[in-house]
Symmetry: C2
């Protein structure tokens, strides 16, 4: 299974154009598709990541790896998000070395969740 | 596999006693163990959930279910956290009806992450 990059398409931002009916989260999704993810990353839209006060929000997850949620993203961050997702995808456990993380990932992590233990670890 | 209740033991809180060398997250972990989780919930300590500005943080996860991270918890919230974990454990997908969620879970969600697709869904 590839790395899943979940993108909340209903996210709002305080600085969004009030005349624009398209949610900032949807703009971010489109920007990510326009830039294109690496082959080992699959972009998935979700209707809510329960991080509404920190939109736009995205999450990285893959079985056996730590999952991460990042907030306060914009469509302009799409290249950095995709670079961070690609770096995550090639790890064994989801832990990208600090220096290799995009600055937005270093500074705008909302939370992470440990992987489920494998039968070998239990 | 049971529901995993991950508890960050290094979490700080602004209102913590500065003379107390024990981190608020560790106090929360102890309170959860003292109250005791239901049989289908396993409490696991973790060293960081990357939600440092919203400690104390806990996460609920189980294969095939949405994962949730909650913040700004205190040791006094242990009974509500355990009640919320028990309600999560008996769901098929991690989505507890709103009215059945503890108030701290309704108001203090930091993020959630969708489950990995099963082979049937793909």
């Amino acid at each position: 299974m590839p790395t899943i990059l979940s993108v909340c398409i209903t996210c709002k931002r305080d600085d969004a154009d009030p005349a624009d009916d398209t949610r900032p989260g949807t703009h971010l999704l489109r920007a990510l598709h326009d830039h294109g993810a690496s082959d080992d990353v699959e972009i998935r839209e979700v209707s809510c990541l329960s991080a509404c006060s920190n939109g736009c929000a995205v999450a990285l997850s893959e079985p056996g790896k730590w999952s991460y949620v990042y907030g306060r993203m914009t469509a302009e961050d799409a290249p950095d998000i995709l670079a961070g997702a690609a770096a995550y995808a090639v790890t064994d456990n989801g832990l990208v070395p600090w220096r290799d993380r995009p600055v937005i990932f270093r500074k705008q992590s909302l939370a992470r969740i440990p992987p489920f233990p494998t039968s070998e670890q239990e």
